[in-house]
């Protein structure tokens, strides 16, 4: 290759795959990317507001950690985002692009709200909570099952199918929100069972969100063990790598796809319950608040590892709270946080390239 008879133009650089990268180097690249992203978003904030970027960061920290209330609020957001992220993870590991988490969370929430409204005064609270749990988990699982069956049997494109299911769910919720609205025709359900608290998840001590956070922590741990140490987890990994290999070694691919999506949907449904019965005590088409989509990015950034997901979900939850505080403090529109989140995710997505590949520049005497 070095001895060529006629000279061919060698490109300025070429890209080679890294064999392996030591963990500190990989994390160094990631941290550098996040720092770079913070610098860029500081610059953007400066251009938009004319404020000192350092003051903006201080305001962000204050928004997320300023008071006890804010810390709890952020932890709650973190837990909810983490729950949905953990839910979509097994499907992604199988290379099943479940973009329908938003809808699965919503139907789970819808089922909870339905139980709270229809059975609120008919069942004792403990039994009611069990019914809510069963209903929301089943609803979420069903919403995931439909695209899974079609994908497994007829190879229907799951990305597009699950995407469409979101909007069916959103309209379904809108339909019921108008049906149940209080007062009639207002288009808002309001707090359900405000007086009786029927179907509200219990509160541990004085901490409104603690139970939610503990439940999500347990689910995260379960998912980590399930994916890493169980036979199911192994099957998911093989199907994700290559369906043909999986078939060859006798893994029932269709069954794995359907089973995994059931689990994914069930956890999404549970997230819906945590949101409706455990947090908001109401339902609207914004109950899932885009978490179904954000979760995909959170899960991917954590390389589908539920434990790392705590970190990536924290990053997003922190940015959202912090940037919201910036927008109130400097009188900007609250969508400011979406811009900052977008920029940071671009950098994190981009930096993975430098972890997997190296860029080799042309050497003086063209030797490849």
């Amino acid at each position: 290759m070095a001895q060529q008879t006629h000279k061919t133009k060698e490109p300025l650089f070429h890209i080679a795959k890294r064999d392996a990268i030591v963990w500190w180097k990989a994390w160094g690249i990631r941290i550098a990317a996040i720092l770079l992203a913070l610098v860029v978003s500081g610059l953007v904030s400066f251009l938009l507001t004319g404020e000192n970027p350092l003051r903006i960061y201080v305001t962000m920290l204050d928004g997320a950690f300023g008071t006890k209330r804010r810390i709890w609020g952020m932890l709650q957001n973190l837990a909810m985002l983490l729950c949905v992220s953990v839910a979509v993870t097994p499907a992604f590991k199988m290379r099943f692009w479940n973009i329908g988490a938003e809808g699965q969370v919503l139907v789970g929430g819808l089922a909870s709200a339905a139980c709270m409204i229809l059975l609120g005064d008919k069942l004792p609270n403990a039994l009611l909570l069990l019914v809510i749990l069963a209903a929301s988990v089943l609803a979420g699982a069903l919403w995931a099952l439909i695209p899974a069956v079609f994908r497994a049997k007829w190879m229907t494109n799951e990305t597009l199918f699950t995407l469409m299911m979101n909007y069916i769910a959103i309209q379904l919720v809108s339909f019921f929100v108008y049906k149940w609205s209080v007062p009639k025709g207002s288009g808002q359900v309001g707090v359900i069972n405000r007086a009786t608290h029927a179907g509200w998840m219990p509160v541990i001590g004085k901490y409104d969100y603690l139970l939610n956070i503990l439940i999500v922590a347990a689910i995260t741990l379960f998912m980590y063990i399930y994916l890493k140490y169980s036979k199911h987890g192994y099957e998911i990994a093989v199907v994700g790598e290559s369906e043909n290999t999986a078939r060859y070694i006798g893994i029932p691919v269709k069954k794995v796809i359907i089973r995994t999506m059931l689990i994914s949907g069930a956890i999404c449904g549970l997230a819906g319950m945590l949101l409706v019965s455990g947090t908001d005590h109401t339902i609207s088409r914004d109950t899932a608040a885009g978490r179904g989509f954000t979760a995909i990015m959170v899960s991917w950034m954590a390389k589908f590892n539920p434990v790392f997901m705590v970190l990536t979900a924290f990053l997003i939850a922190f940015l959202e709270k912090g940037a919201t505080e910036v927008s109130t403090a400097f009188g900007l529109n609250e969508s400011f946080s979406d811009i900052i989140t977008g920029i940071i995710i671009f950098f994190i997505i981009g930096c993975e390239f430098f972890i997997q590949y190296t860029v080799k520049f042309r050497e003086k005497e063209a030797a490849k």
Partner: protein
């Protein structure tokens, strides 16, 4: 003439969808599943608004030609930049397409709403909300003889130049995709990039080109929405879920822009049909808004069951292509 009015509104609803789906079809034909289209359409809309707003604020007198050209160029520049971000991340940096697309949508919708909410304040102007009636008026210039042609004029001739441009672009795209060498190469890249590469087609260049062209076209849909449909008034989240509906339309049109011309009118009609059904309460209307999505799912299932070769998504849709990993 209720139905003439309905048809006219359906076409107006359909135009942004047609732009979005034509853009997405070009992108998907190169194998890139760009889920950033909703965000790109927001950016296309708000970039035009920013351009028009600054021009209206600073120009001594507003002339028709720059009043149309400035927003148009701003919109194109904004969506081109979004397309470049997507292509750079997915093609050059080999990032996951779904994640990149969703991040682009988060960013784009945020960008649109942010500037929609803060533009007046940032520009130091004292107007309460952005209303670009002058610019919008120029955008909505109708054919002079539309009024004289009865219902035909109302349905087909009463639209603005961006609406006709949408149809022309879609038809042109359909022609290029199926009758030219560029189209053949593009389809080859989406179906089997390794083969295309072996045949000497520059896969990366085609993906970049298709994605950026697609973004610009989709962005025009956002511009049409603000300037024509919304009469130059930007309202946050006003564009709603039309971006996703455009992606649904791609499936409905089985990846053919000429079908999506009619599909867009149908989808536009389904989107507003609840206004024309007597005795429907608000909750019933919400159920009717489900229709376009339900129809899409049904179609998606049918085409996957029938396995007709011409009606399938590009074989490598959503999959990355790295020469050294094949």
């Amino acid at each position: 003439m209720i139905w003439a009015g309905f048809l006219q509104r359906a076409i107006m609803q359909g135009v942004p969808l047609l732009y979005g789906s034509t853009g997405e079809i070009i992108t998907e034909k190169s194998g890139n599943l760009n889920l950033g289209i909703p965000g790109i359409m927001y950016v296309g809309g708000i970039s035009g608004v920013i351009g028009a707003f600054l021009y209206e604020q600073h120009a001594a007198s507003v002339h028709p030609l720059p009043a149309v050209l400035i927003p148009l160029l701003c919109s194109i520049a904004g969506s081109l930049l979004m397309g470049l971000i997507y292509s750079f991340l997915t093609v050059s940096l080999r990032a996951n397409q779904n994640v990149t697309g969703l991040a682009l949508t988060t960013f784009g919708v945020g960008f649109g709403n942010f500037f929609g909410g803060s533009l007046a304040k940032l520009a130091g102007s004292d107007v309460a909300s952005i209303s670009l009636s002058t610019t919008s008026g120029y955008f909505r210039t109708q054919l002079p003889f539309a009024d004289k042609c009865g219902w035909f004029g109302q349905v087909f001739l009463s639209h603005s130049f961006l609406a006709y441009a949408a149809v022309i672009i879609a038809a042109l795209t359909a022609f290029i995709l199926s009758h030219t060498r560029i189209g053949l190469h593009l389809r080859a890249v989406g179906e089997n990039p390794a083969t295309a590469d072996a045949a000497g087609i520059s896969v990366g260049r085609y993906k970049y080109f298709a994605t950026c062209t697609g973004s610009v076209i989709a962005g025009l849909g956002g511009l049409y929405y603000v300037m024509d449909y919304a009469n130059g008034v930007w309202s946050n989240d006003g564009f709603g879920d039309r971006g996703w509906l455009a992606i649904a339309l791609v499936i409905f049109a089985v990846w053919r822009p000429n079908i999506s011309i009619f599909g867009s009118i149908l989808f536009g009609g389904l989107y507003i049909v609840h206004n024309y059904i007597p005795g429907l309460d608000v909750s019933g209307q919400e159920l009717f808004k489900m229709l376009p999505y339900a129809v899409t799912i049904l179609l998606l299932v049918v085409i996957s069951m029938r396995r007709k070769r011409e009606a399938q998504p590009p074989a490598h849709l959503g999959m990355p292509y790295f020469r050294e990993e094949r």
